[in-house]
Symmetry: C2
C-alpha cells in the first residue's frame, strides 16, 4: 500500500467533512491555465502520485478516481498502484465522465468543491451545466489542498528579464495603446490578462518560472485609465521596475489582483477570455460590472508577428539549422564509428548543440527522439528507463525546438539509420507530399485552418492512412511553442488565418511498433496578391534543415513537388553554409543536392 | 405612387395601433420554413410588392423597410418604387441590421410583433437576444396580415399521392420504428416534424403544394405511442388514408397540431429542431414538458439514401442525361440553322425534353440559362423581359434539374457557342480540375464537408480566383433539390459525411459582365475501404452528361485528371446510348471521345 498517498487522501477527506463537501475535484492547471504548471501548482500530482501532464483527481467519501487520456494509461496504472485511486480511462466508451461519476456517487442535491483559482471559466461552465441538472452545487473558493500540503512550494519568485524593443519590435506603451483600441472596438472598458504568455507579450518581459515556456507568473489588467502588472516584487529589478513605470505600467503585488477587481466601478464593461481566466478572478468581478466573454485581444495581437519579430524568427531558424546540421553530422559519425547512442544521448547532444548558438535560452519543449517503434508513440520522450539504443537500421524521428531571445523554433525530421524498406519510403514520400502541398498553397483572406488541413493529409488519405493529431499549431515569439488562437487541424477553429501568423506544418504517419514519420517546418503567413476576387495569402517556410532524400520515392513526387524540394534545399544550403565549417558545408551540400 | 402598397401598409399601421405595437416584422417563410412557400404564405410579397425569394419587411409608425441580399438589389429597387418602403441592402457595411434598425427607430422598452407561425425558433432566439438587451419585447402570436389581406389564398388542399415501397425502399411503419429508435437514443419521447420534406419522407407521401418541391402542406408527430399526420382531409384519398392507417399512422386535421401539442402530458421529453420548428408550435408545448433542441432525426435519416433510393437516382440520371443530350443536339442544330434562340426558349425546350422522360413530375428548380454576362449572375433565371438571345459566340451556362418519381436531379454544364478565348478555356479547365479533384477524393469516416471544400477550389485559388457560394448541397430523393443537413462549403457545418448521402459537386467561376462557368455533377458517398487507420469513404459520380472538351486546355490537366475524364465520358456514352437513336448516339460518341 502507498501510505504516503492514502494518508494524504485521508487528510483531504477530513477537510471535506469539515467543509461539508461530498466530493472534491483537483485538476492539473495552475491559476493561468498553462500547459506546464510550476511546482507549487502540482496539486493533482501531490495528491495522487501521478505525474503525467494531464489528469484530474476526484475524491468522495468512499472513492477516489483519476481521469486521464490514453497517453498515460500505462504510467497511471503503475503510479496509482496501492493508492486506492481508481484509473478512469478517458475516451473509452464505458468510462463515466466526471459529472456522470459524481451524479452516481454523491447523487442529487449534494455539494462538490474545487479551488476556483485553477479552473477556467469555460471548463467550470461545462461542469456546472452537467451537475446543475441534478442540483449538485459546486463550491469554488475552497483550496483544501493548501490546508493539508504542509511543505507546498511557494509561487516562483525568479527574476524576470526584459526583451528590448529591438527584439519585440514594439514598446510596451504602444502595445497598451493597441490593446485599448481593441477593447474599445469590442465595447469593453478593460480586460484581465490571465495567460502567462499574454502578460509576457504585453509587457515585453520573460521569465524562468515554467519549464520550456519563458514566462513569469503574473497577471495583467488593461484599461484606458490604468494598466497594471501584478507580479511578486522580488521578481523585478529596480531597472525593470523603473522602465515599466516609464512605459505607463503600474506595478502591484501578484496577490492583489482579486482585491483589485472587487473594486471595479459600477457599469464597467470588462472583457474576459473564458478559456484563460480562472473562476476566482471571475468571482472577484463585482455584479455591477458587465462581463464580455471573448478571446483576449492580447492573444490575437500576439499571434500576428510584426516585422522585427519575423526577422527574429529568420535569425533563429538559421541558428537552429546550424545546430541541427551539426547534430546529424555527429550522429552519422557516431554510428559509423560503431558507438552506442541512445535516444536520450541524441536528445542531450542536440540540446548542447542548440545551447552553443547565440541568444539560446532553453529548449522549447522536451525533445521527442523516437527510434523505430518509439517513433510511433506520438508524445514519446525518452527517459533513462525507456531510452532505446539507435541501431544502423530503421527510422529515427526527432521533434525538437529551441527558445532563442529572437524566436522560438519547432522542427521534426525523420531519417533512415540503415537501408529503408519500400514501405518506409512510400510512407515518407506521402508525408512529404502533404507537407509540400500545404507549404505551396495560396488561399483567400478569411480562410480557416481546417479548410487547408486536407492538403497535408490528402496523399495519406489516398492510401488509407491518417494521423489523428493536428497539422499545425501557432508558435510564439520567444514564448510558448504551442500558441493560439490559430491552428490547422481537422477540427473546426473559427479563427481566420492572417498574415504574420506563424504555424507548424507537420503531417505524419505512424505504424504501431514499427516506426513513426513526421516532417515539420515552421511556416509564416504572407500577403500574396490581390485580385478582383479579393486578397490572397500564402506561406513562407521559415525552418532551414535538410530533408532526407534517401527516403523519397522519386516517381511519387510531381515535377512541381520536386522543384519545391530542390528550391528549398538550395535555400537551406545558402542560408546555413556561411555558418558552417568546410567539412560541414560539404556534408550539407551532399544532403541538399538536387533530386 | 404605388397606392396599392401604400394602402396596405396604412392598414397594417392601423392594426399595429390597435394592438399597441411599435413595429411589425413580416418574413418570407411559411409555417414550415420552406425554401419556396405556397401562395397563402407570401405575406411579405403582398405587403411590399417585392417578389424575390428572400427578404424581410419591417414596418414602424413612420418607416417601412425591406431587407434583402445582393441578388435582389436591382429587382427590389424597381419593385419598391413608389411604395414608401426603403431598401436595406444586406451585407453592406453601412446597412443596419433589423435589430439595429428597431433599436434606433422604436427605442428601449418598445413592443414589436410578428406571426410566430412563420418564424423559426432559432431565428426568433437570435432576434430576441438582440432586442432583449434594449428591453424591446416581441409579441409572437399576432397574424396582422390575415386581418387586412381580404382575398388571402387558403392553405393548399391539393391531393397528395403515395410513393410505393418499391420506390422508397422502406415502408412507413419501418420508418416510424427507425425514428422512434433515434428518439430513444436522444433521450426523447417524441418529436414534431415541421419541415415538409421530413414529413413527406416519413410518410412516403408527395404533393403539389409548392413549386419545384413535391411536398404537401402537413405536420408530423412521432412517438412510441402514436404517430400522427396532420393534414387537410381533402388532400387524402380513401385509399391513401386506409393505407396510412394500416401502417400505424393516425390522421388528424392540419389545423389541430397546436391544440394537440398543448395536451402533451407532464415530463414529456420532446425533441424539436430549432431551425425547422416555428414559434407557434414551440409556444404550444406546455411548460411541464422538457424540450430537447437538436437536428431532427428525420432530416438525418432522410439524407442517407437506401439501396432502392440509390437505384432510383441511377435511373433518374440516365433519363436526365438523355434529355440533356437531346437538348444540346437541338441547340446546336438551331444555332447552325441560324434560328433565334433566347435563354427562355432554351429553358423551356429543356423542360419539354425532360417531361418526355418516364416518371417525370416537374423541374426541380427554375432553370438557370445564363448566356454570356448573364452566366456570371449566380441566381439568374431568364424572364420574358430579361431573356438574352444566344449568339454564336461566348459561353452558355445551364443549371437545371428534374423531379422524377425515382429521383431528383441537379446538373450544370457550360458550353461554348463559338470559338472560346484562351481565358475562357483556362477558367473552364480550372473549374473542371476542382470538380474532378473532389470527385476522386477519399476521406476517413468523420470528415465534414468544409474539410473537402478546398479540393474544388484549389486550382482556382492558385490563380487568385474564388467563388462565394457553396461547392455542394444535399439532394433529396424525389424531394427538395436543396436538402440538408450535409454540405460541402467553406463555412463550418458540423454534420459528418456518411455513406448514402447525395450531394452536388459544383465549383464555378464568374467574370462579371463576361461569362460564368460552372460544372456540376451529383455525387454519392460510398464506403471505400477499411484499414488499420479506420474506415474510408469516396464518391461515386451519378450525373451522366458530356462535359464540353472544346473548353479544355489539355496540358493543364494531369494524366490522372485526363484519365478520370475519359473514363467518365466512356460511362456517359455506355449508359446513355441504349436510349438514343443512331444520330444521337453518333453525336454523343463525338462529344465523349477520348482526349
Amino acid at each position: 500500500m502507498n501510505t504516503k498517498i492514502t494518508d494524504r487522501i485521508a487528510s483531504l477527506r477530513e477537510e471535506m467533512k469539515k467543509h461539508q463537501l461530498d466530493a472534491y475535484i483537483i485538476p492539473s492547471s495552475d491559476s493561468h491555465l498553462s500547459e506546464y504548471p510550476a511546482a507549487c501548482w502540482k496539486a493533482r500530482e501531490w495528491i495522487s502520485g501521478f505525474n503525467g501532464s494531464a489528469g484530474t483527481v476526484v475524491v468522495t467519501a468512499n472513492k477516489a478516481g483519476l481521469w486521464t487520456d490514453s497517453r498515460y494509461f500505462l504510467q497511471a496504472t503503475a503510479q496509482l498502484e496501492g493508492t486506492g485511486i481508481e484509473l478512469y480511462k478517458l475516451m473509452l466508451p464505458d468510462t463515466p465522465s466526471i459529472p456522470e461519476f459524481l451524479i452516481a456517487e454523491i447523487g442529487k442535491n449534494a455539494k462538490a468543491g474545487l479551488n476556483g483559482e485553477t479552473y477556467s471559466v469555460a471548463e467550470f461552465n461545462t461542469l456546472q451545466q452537467a451537475l446543475g441538472r441534478k442540483n449538485i452545487s459546486i463550491e469554488t473558493n475552497l483550496d483544501l489542498i493548501s490546508l493539508i500540503w504542509k511543505d507546498r512550494p511557494t509561487i516562483p519568485g525568479n527574476k524576470i528579464f526584459e526583451l528590448p524593443v529591438e527584439i519585440t519590435g514594439m514598446s510596451v506603451s504602444d502595445k497598451l495603446d493597441l490593446l485599448n483600441n481593441k477593447l474599445r472596438e469590442a465595447g469593453a472598458d478593460c480586460t484581465i490578462l490571465g495567460a502567462l504568455d499574454d502578460v509576457a507579450w504585453t509587457f515585453n518581459i520573460r521569465g524562468n518560472d515554467v519549464t520550456y515556456n519563458p514566462v513569469a507568473v503574473s497577471y495583467g489588467f488593461i484599461s484606458e485609465e490604468e494598466c497594471v502588472l501584478f507580479i511578486k516584487p522580488e521578481k523585478l529589478t529596480d531597472e525593470i521596475a523603473l522602465h515599466l513605470k516609464k512605459e505607463g505600467v503600474i506595478l502591484a503585488d501578484y496577490s492583489c489582483i482579486e482585491n483589485y477587481l472587487t473594486r471595479l466601478p459600477a457599469k464597467t464593461r470588462i472583457l474576459i477570455d473564458p478559456h484563460k481566466t480562472n473562476m476566482a478572478l471571475y468571482h472577484a468581478i463585482p455584479d455591477h460590472c458587465r462581463i464580455i466573454e471573448q478571446i483576449s485581444p492580447a492573444t490575437i495581437l500576439k499571434s500576428i508577428k510584426n516585422k522585427t519579430e519575423i526577422e527574429g524568427f529568420q535569425h533563429a531558424v538559421i541558428k537552429d539549422g546550424v545546430a541541427l546540421t551539426r547534430f546529424y553530422i555527429w550522429l552519422e559519425k557516431q554510428m559509423e564509428a560503431g558507438m552506442k547512442v541512445t535516444e536520450l544521448d541524441a536528445s542531450r547532444k542536440l540540446s548542447c548543440l542548440r545551447a552553443e548558438q547565440p541568444l539560446y535560452i532553453m529548449d522549447s519543449f522536451e525533445t521527442i527522439a523516437g527510434y523505430a517503434g518509439h517513433g510511433a508513440i506520438v508524445h514519446y520522450a525518452p527517459t533513462e528507463e525507456s531510452a532505446a539504443t539507435i541501431c544502423p537500421e530503421g527510422l529515427l524521428l526527432i521533434d525538437s525546438g529551441g527558445q532563442y531571445l529572437d524566436g522560438t523554433t519547432d522542427i521534426t525530421r525523420t531519417i533512415p539509420m540503415g537501408e529503408p524498406t519500400e514501405q518506409m519510403k512510400k510512407d515518407f514520400t506521402r508525408v512529404l507530399k502533404g507537407m509540400i502541398s500545404l507549404s505551396k498553397c495560396k488561399f483567400p483572406a478569411g480562410t480557416r485552418g481546417c479548410q487547408l488541413d486536407i492538403l497535408a493529409r490528402k496523399a495519406l488519405w489516398d492510401a488509407g492512412i491518417n494521423y489523428l493529431h493536428g497539422t499545425g499549431h501557432g508558435i510564439g515569439h520567444c514564448l510558448n511553442v504551442h500558441e493560439g488562437p490559430q491552428s490547422i487541424r481537422m477540427e473546426e477553429n473559427p479563427v481566420k488565418l492572417q498574415p504574420g501568423m506563424v504555424l507548424s506544418n507537420e503531417p505524419a504517419m505512424y505504424r504501431t511498433g514499427e516506426y513513426g514519420i513526421r516532417t515539420e517546418n515552421m511556416i509564416l503567413i504572407r500577403e500574396d496578391s490581390e485580385t478582383e476576387y479579393g486578397k490572397f495569402y500564402s506561406f513562407e517556410t521559415l525552418t532551414l534543415c535538410y530533408i532526407d532524400t534517401r527516403l523519397i520515392v522519386l516517381p511519387m513526387l510531381s515535377a512541381r513537388e520536386q522543384a519545391w524540394l530542390n528550391k528549398y534545399h538550395q535555400q537551406v544550403y545558402e542560408k546555413l553554409s556561411p555558418y558552417l565549417n568546410e567539412e560541414e558545408q560539404e556534408w550539407l551540400k551532399e544532403k541538399t543536392k538536387e533530386i
